[in-house]
Symmetry: C2
């Protein structure tokens, strides 16, 4: 049978770390070319176009050490259908079930990159929106789960009064009956509005988008109409295309903060999954996040200094027309770590402190101390 589809010839490249000796690495790399595309015995393929274009191509296999090789594999842009879900599927769908293979980075040609709007605000857009040019942005999370909406709104008010730029729901705030989404969004947005009138600042409140997935636009529109200033989204729970849909929506025009819930298994192994660079840099930028939360070194979680540096690079390296975005190191951050954090991340970051702001003194005082410390240490 003949086959008349015409391929552009444009290909994108994926760099994989492959654990094993040279023979193993070669076999695994050739396996990826098949597994991630035709998933079919290569010797049964009769179409020349499929052989030439659809099957992945191993461009290079480089030895890193005795037990680690780096493969560069290219795929036709057409196999992605120019959408993020199928792009992810080609990168790592079936391969995720195999061992000793890790996606390090991708190199996407313009024809594929332009399928993604990317961050609507990005690093510079956020600074403009919040009117903060010369220091890291300040963020805090509404905690703890189980408080009533009224209690939460009081905390939001104090955060905003104390100078926090971005106040987000804890990522576990869904639609629980002790503080339903609509009620919380309306009251917390109102609290920020009132505080802004006093401070003259532009603080914003970011509710967490809960399920069900198919109601996200309804929920987000409610948030917009009731004064919310952006959204918190967990792509590990909702899917990266849901983040993209919210970021891309021209009626919403919301800045989006991405949360790492349920993403941990993709970076839990040194030789499997995604690099921190890709998972917390490239991928959320493709999906349109403006800010990317991840657990910082020395906190409750376990990302290393090197992994955090990878994330900084992933958030800011050149990615075609897609803006750089702001890293949001978090996970047990404390006010006393502000100088250390700015020293490492620089000004282009969001400093997220949660529970620690509620320790000792009043909330407003603690926020002011946080802001003062950030101002003193900014570069």
């Amino acid at each position: 049978m003949s086959h008349h589809y015409s391929y552009s010839g444009d290909r994108f490249t994926v760099v994989y770390d492959i654990t094993g000796n040279e023979a193993v690495a070669q076999t695994k790399a050739e396996g990826i070319c098949i597994e991630q595309t035709i998933e079919f015995p290569a010797d049964l393929v009769t179409s020349e176009e499929i052989k030439r274009h659809v099957i992945g191509q191993l461009k290079n296999l480089q030895k890193i050490n005795e037990d680690l090789y780096q493969a560069e594999i290219s795929f036709a842009v057409e196999v992605t259908g120019f959408e993020i879900i199928q792009l992810l599927n080609v990168l790592f769908g079936n391969t995720s079930i195999q061992t000793g293979i890790k996606v390090v980075s991708v190199n996407l040609p313009e024809s594929l990159l332009k399928a993604f709007r990317g961050p609507r605000f990005g690093r510079e857009g956020l600074r403009k929106l919040l009117n903060v040019s010369d220091r890291p942005l300040l963020c805090s999370a509404l905690k703890p789960m189980g408080l009533s909406t009224e209690e939460l709104a009081n905390i939001v008010y104090d955060y905003a009064l104390g100078g926090i730029d971005i106040i987000k729901d804890d990522h576990g705030f869904a639609n629980q009956s002790f503080s339903p989404f609509e009620e919380r969004v309306a009251k917390c947005s109102e609290a920020v509005f009132k505080a802004n009138q006093i401070t003259g600042k532009k603080s914003i409140y970011l509710p967490n988008i809960p399920g069900p997935t198919m109601d996200i636009f309804e929920k987000a529109e409610y948030a917009k109409q009731n004064g919310a200033g952006g959204l918190l989204v967990s792509p590990g729970l909702l899917g990266f295309d849901v983040l993209r849909a919210l970021a891309d929506n021209d009626d919403l025009r919301f800045p989006i903060m991405s949360h790492p819930a349920m993403l941990g298994s993709f970076t839990s192994s040194k030789n499997h999954g995604f690099s921190h660079y890709f998972l917390y840099g490239t991928l959320p930028r493709l999906a349109g996040a403006d800010m990317v939360v991840f657990p910082v070194f020395g906190g409750r979680f376990s990302f290393s200094v090197d992994e955090c540096q990878e994330i900084i690079n992933g958030c800011s390296d050149d990615l075609g027309q897609l803006s750089p975005v702001l890293p949001v190191p978090a996970g047990g951050m404390r006010v006393d770590r502000v100088p250390e954090m700015i020293d490492f991340f620089g000004n282009d970051m969001v400093l997220l402190i949660g529970g620690n702001l509620q320790r000792g003194g009043t909330l407003v005082e603690n926020c002011k101390r946080f802001l003062d410390l950030v101002r003193e240490n900014s570069r």
Copy 2:
């Protein structure tokens, strides 16, 4: 501040495997209680209700060996908001970013279970739908990616003529321009219809649901109107709540086959992620899958015999009102393995053979041989 929300007292239990000595396991288990709920310093919580109800409770910590403990932790049903995304978040959201913690199983009370419709067809419903009572169901996948719609429809026709009960898209069939979703669904459904008229059977075609996520209902309705018989869904790419939304939709009433793409990282480590029992049994059943695809032992992938047995149990163990579902061992399955497969899995399974059916002979003959072999070996 007072807090007047009234909790039911109903709690669900999660069993976690925790790697480490007793002191480490105790600390990690207590960490889960906090991390997965209030994510806030416990000593700062003033509300008695939050302490009594919202924070997770460590019910038991049992030694398995020197370096492995099993913790049983209970959570109030209310923290889930009675939806699958937040349930998953409570089970493993932030914990996914920590090391040495694995979700083994869950025990959900009726008040939480009844929030889930579960499989619409399940094991018995599928047998009734396809009119097959006394043998495993036969399935094949449309391959390879890159064929035109016409070529694919010809393959579908031969599969159905040869006696395959369920013909599914390869999971990488999205909306690529070499075979757009709508065109493929219409032509392939038509091919099955024609073959059914000849065979008198009830074979069905299951297109893969591609992104964008927010268009799934539109896509699925198109599939329904054009004669598709069910859907293939990859919850690792689209999210488990998207699978649930498709399964629950009363206008569609589609049987759903779940595909493991991108789920591999959750089971790639012995001491991290989800058990096979939970990820390929309990969870897809909660979300409403009727059939669960996973890579079988001895194929191209790496699940072990024990892990496959776990999946059989997860698909059939008691789960309140939720039906048992059919395991779909796959991943390089061959016709010559049919006796071995039936010996291990029994009759209550879907035998999925892809590329191997296209090797040697004609497609129709190979399918008939497959069906004959299944009939001969059924119990």
